[in-house]
Amino acid sequence: MNNEQKLKAAFIEALGLNESTNVEALTYNSIPEWDSIAHMALVAQLDDQFDIMLDTDDIIDISSFEKAKEVLSKYEVEFV
């Protein structure tokens, strides 16, 4: 799995979504599945999957799939 797929899988697992969901289009609070509780589950997934520890500001910043990629890049997770 490349990092993009890993990130996608993390979203699907944390938010409890269908495999077929268009993850790229999601934004925080735009669907009932992505609430504050799911957001913390997502952060836990990202910390585990990419073996990092996200900072406070970055956790708050992850408001979409794209934004998550941007934040992860700061932790030397590369997306091609």
């Binding site: 944390a14 409890g16 009932p32 599945e33 609430d35 504050s36 509780i37 799911a38 957001h39 913390m40 589950a41 952060v43 836990a44 900072d55 406070t56 500001d57 956790i59 708050i60 910043d61």
Partner: protein, 447 residues
């Protein structure tokens, strides 16, 4: 009484979203206007429902109802529509406030008892219609006890983190209005940037949190945040894990601010006991000592924790007619928790007599959940679990489609996130010889 609002030109409410500020004088005028609106429709005591948010308009409606002495049921505005309708149909309110005031048109069929002030749901998130009835004395005395042991002054600026329809959230509002403090009103969660921006901009001095919120704060690396205005913080709504208690008491110690761990129940308006902050380290895991004016004891026959105080509810309500009952408890509450008292007089919870767990600080009645799942899936089901984790066991073979449906239904209807959920399929649910579910064996078998 805190709803008299006699604190002059001190700011009372600041609504963060609109940046609107109301002084106590201005708030008082708005509240009187709302009380007059209620009076103009009926001089009798009536019964209304308010869908609560942390907003100025909801606060005006709540305080206006108290001033006019209408009884009000406070429900969370975020409750799902079917659950709201269930309450409306069951209790037939004379009026509803949902951002706007709506007269339901009927003269009160059933009178409310004159002492009845506020009704709160015991397990509203599962749609159970059972309510706690609180008197004017209940809400006033609990606000006053809390203000005393937390040393709340007019200089405080708490920021809201809980629903005002939840007893803990409401108690923060009441106790600060009593002392003429300034309340920062927001529905933003602690994981939103807007929350922390406002926290700093308006120099919040305190916040309240349930265990789930402390888990989030921990993940947010709370200890590394710069919060120079913070004067103290409180925790209630279930037991905080040992590691989190240690983390947050360490933070409190290094910053020289109190961290106040508390225990309570909606049946006691909100607060029953607290741990004096200087004892937190020595008494980690204890629920502390009774609040001022309250008294705790253990029933020697059953080990049940019993509380006495002026904040003990009038009683429960299960039907509209019950609102006329008045005081059924006479200041005495059996908590349903088993406890012991140590040699210093501190109380420790040992277990629970009733069938509920706490998720995100909210009480979830396990029998309600069972009934709901049984009806919607037509399968035998048993619900169990511990705080922060619900266990659902089905008498069926594993089925991914059912699994997905359960996750969705529990999420949509009750807001239960699937990571707080364990679902098991079993050939046979463990039963007692009477045919009832054996919950002890169930808990052991899925460990």
């Amino acid at each position: 009484m805190f709803w008299q609002l006699q604190h002059g030109d001190t700011p009372a409410l600041i609504e963060l979203q609109s940046q609107r500020t109301l002084t106590y004088r201005e708030l008082s005028a708005e509240v009187s206007a709302f009380a007059n609106l209620l009076l103009s429709h009926s001089e009798q005591k009536r019964f209304g429902i308010i869908y609560m948010r942390n907003s100025i308009s909801c606060m005006i409606a709540y305080l206006g109802a108290l001033q006019k002495q209408d009884a009000v049921l406070l429900l969370d505005a975020g409750l799902s529509e079917p659950l709201k309708q269930q309450f409306v149909q069951h209790y037939k309110p004379d009026w509803i406030f949902d951002g706007e005031w709506l007269d339901m048109g009927q003269e009160s069929q059933t009178p409310c008892h004159e002492q009845l002030a506020v009704l709160l749901s015991t397990s509203g998130s599962t749609g159970n219609p059972k309510l706690v009835q609180l008197s004017y004395q209940n809400i006033q005395s609990n606000a006053s006890s809390i203000a005393r042991y937390l040393n709340i002054t007019a200089a405080e600026r708490p920021i809201t983190t809980l629903s005002p329809a939840y007893s803990y959230g409401l108690s923060v509002l009441n106790s600060h209005l009593l002392q003429g403090a300034t309340i920062l009103l927001t529905d933003e969660s602690v994981i939103s940037g807007a929350f922390w921006k406002a926290f700093k901009q308006y120099e919040a001095t305190s916040f309240a949190g349930v265990p789930y919120m402390y888990q989030m704060l921990h993940r947010l690396r709370f200890a590394s945040m710069e919060l120079s205005s913070l004067r103290y913080f409180t925790q209630a709504g279930g037991r905080l894990s040992q590691s989190l208690t240690a983390y947050f008491s360490e933070f409190a110690k290094t910053h020289h601010i109190p961290f106040v761990v508390m225990y309570g129940q909606t049946e006691a308006t909100a607060r029953i006991s607290y741990v004096p902050p200087d004892q937190l380290e020595a008494k980690q895991g204890s629920i502390g000592i009774a609040i001022p004016d309250g008294e705790l004891a253990i029933d020697p026959a059953t080990e049940e924790l019993v509380y006495r105080g002026p904040n003990v509810m009038l009683g429960y309500a299960e039907t509209r007619a019950d609102l006329a009952l008045g005081d059924q408890q006479h200041g005495m509450l059996k908590t349903g928790d088993l406890a012991r008292q140590d040699e210093d007089g501190y109380f420790w919870i040992l277990g629970r007599m009733k069938r509920f767990i706490k998720l995100y600080g909210l009480r979830m009645n396990l029998d309600d959940l069972e009934r709901f799942l049984e009806q919607s899936l037509e399968l035998s089901v048993a619900c169990s679990g511990q705080d922060e984790q619900l266990l659902v066991a089905f008498e069926a073979s594993h089925d991914d489609a059912i699994l997905q449906t359960i996750r969705q239904q529990l999420k949509l209807r009750y807001g239960i996130h699937h990571t707080s959920l364990r679902i098991r399929f079993m050939d046979e649910l463990p039963r007692l010889s009477s045919g009832k579910i054996d919950y002890i064996r169930l808990a052991n078998e899925v460990k």
